[in-house]
Symmetry: C2
Subunit: 328 residues, 2 copies
């Protein structure tokens, strides 16, 4: 007898999904669920695979449940949308414990509640490899979604907060798992950035409402790659100033300890799920004033120029870094 | 160097998805795609995992590509909807050949074209295990979707065509793969039922338009289970007449050769992706007349009665078969 059955799992999920919500016509219990929107739906799908996107040796199931949803919500944030509905496709090995599965589910439902987002369907399959495929549906707010293709020459490039934290956190956790390092509370924010990333849902919507943001995306593969996507879509280039990249105060300490370049963590490690976006030419001051109270962490890191690619500007030279981010 | 790269694959998919279609606001190339519907969206998601849902030893990649989409389209058919958009989450081992991947993709695009359905997004991840998570969005036609919960006492139970073919086909193919049997053209329809199932999209819509169908679902886990879902949702029971179950003329021959019970294939093997549905009490004749030309294969197999569960009526006795279908 395996420690859990699909039917027991589905029953538990159904119990947690009772109730109704606007826009939801039919939920679980039919071949399809049915949803309605007066505007449009923003849809994204992402899969997390064991030992490629996460490591169960050090990722607590509750936080992994949160993260499985968070990385998808981040795609909605990157368009400035409001998340509404989620579908889950769970590939679960038979030997998983029921405790592990329910802790994972508790994390899923916790983050869904925090964002008033509703689980409406999905499927479970027994597999050899643990994997979670999540589809999330959101709706644009106020002024509509922000796309990648709106950046223009003279716009400025911004990020929503510190970079490199998740990459440093992951490496620190790996070294602890291999017993090469012991846990160190100085690095708690770095661990958390990897284990429990926070999707920038509220900020994304605020950026839409500002009407000053011309393009946006989330940083999942590293600024070097994600800003390159914006540039490619918009037909422009970007110059990033190395000294303006925001990071957690302990990032350099962690980089030294790990014997890696802090710059690699900042630009190439990815998984921070911060937003990178461009502010319309000449509107920087108005934008700073607007963000002053609600999002003091937003930080200008560069500018949009003519040409192609992303260039890192250091004190005495510049180098191209386009698409050098991590390929997940 | 692996034989393929994610970027090459995504580029190929993007090339195949160029163009615009009504309801599609933004497709690939942003964090989310964006779709719009005047009515509602029917949504379903399903995952196929290697060596659990398919066997690459005998499943040609082109047909597997078709099937990966077909099983999801079948969920739209089961609501009487029109498929519109698809998202793919591909988990691909590095050692897959580029030829295999492109043949699989060709099958995907072929069946999407046949149903005027558009691939709008997804993601690809490298994994140890080959798996395809597909999310499909459809729209209800005319009179709206048909749900599982509308069956009432006195309604009659129908299926859209022969049962057990896919189950028999799979077992025959397995035995050929183990060299216990050789290929036999008598069984071509049975092989095809497993390798290349046809989603009943046109029929599903016709059943909506008939306004005579009270509940419906597709047969993925076997009639014993799928009719039990209808009964549970509707708060009724069903009596199925063993002698009325339609099957391919060679099913009994195949069952004898495989040394299995034909009844098991008919009721419990699943994967036929036929529809099971109920016709409103007293409307059987009107329904037969209506279907005579367009769907002569529909077949009455039972009736809805009071109580709980699904019962198989044989000549001299009756037995409960609720939820005895295959758990995928």
């Amino acid at each position: 007898m395996p420690p859990w059955s699909e039917r027991k799992l589905i029953e538990r999920i159904r119990q947690a999904c009772k109730g109704s919500v606007s826009g939801l016509v039919t939920s679980m219990g039919d071949d399809c669920c049915e949803v309605r929107s007066d505007a449009s739906f923003l849809i994204s799908t992402d899969t997390l695979v064991d030992s490629i996107h996460f490591d169960c040796n050090f990722h607590p199931p509750h936080l992994l449940g949160r993260k499985s949803i968070a990385v998808n919500l981040s795609d909605i944030a990157a368009m400035g949308g409001r998340p509404r509905f989620v579908l889950l496709s769970l590939s679960l090995p038979e030997e998983l414990s029921w405790e592990w599965i329910t802790a994972w589910l508790d994390g899923v439902f916790e983050i869904l509640r925090e964002h008033s987002c509703f689980l409406i369907g999905g499927d479970t399959v027994k597999s050899h490899e643990l994997a979670f495929a999540v589809t999330v549906l959101g709706e644009p707010v106020g002024g509509g979604a922000i796309y990648r293709n709106g950046a223009e020459m003279g716009d400025t490039v911004w990020v929503s907060g510190p970079l490199g934290s998740a990459g440093a956190g992951l490496e620190l956790l790996r070294h602890q798992s291999d017993q090469k390092l012991s846990a160190d509370s100085r690095f708690d924010a770095l661990y958390a950035a990897h284990l429990n990333p926070i999707p920038m849902i509220a900020l994304g919507q605020e950026l839409v409402r500002s009407e000053l943001v011309t393009s946006m995306q989330d940083i999942s593969d590293g600024l070097a790659t994600d800003l390159a996507h914006i540039c490619k879509s918009s037909g422009v280039a970007a110059r990033v100033f190395a000294e303006q990249l925001p990071c957690h105060p302990e990032l350099q300490v962690a980089a030294d300890l790990l014997n890696v370049e802090a710059e690699d963590l900042l630009l190439r490690a990815g998984e921070d799920y911060q937003l990178v976006f461009t502010v319309r030419k000449g509107q920087e001051v108005a934008f700073i004033q607007l963000m002053q109270e609600s999002a003091p962490g937003v930080c200008r890191v560069g500018e949009i120029v003519s040409g192609e690619g992303v260039f890192l500007q250091k004190k005495f030279h510049s180098e191209e870094i386009s698409f050098q981010g991590f390929e997940h």
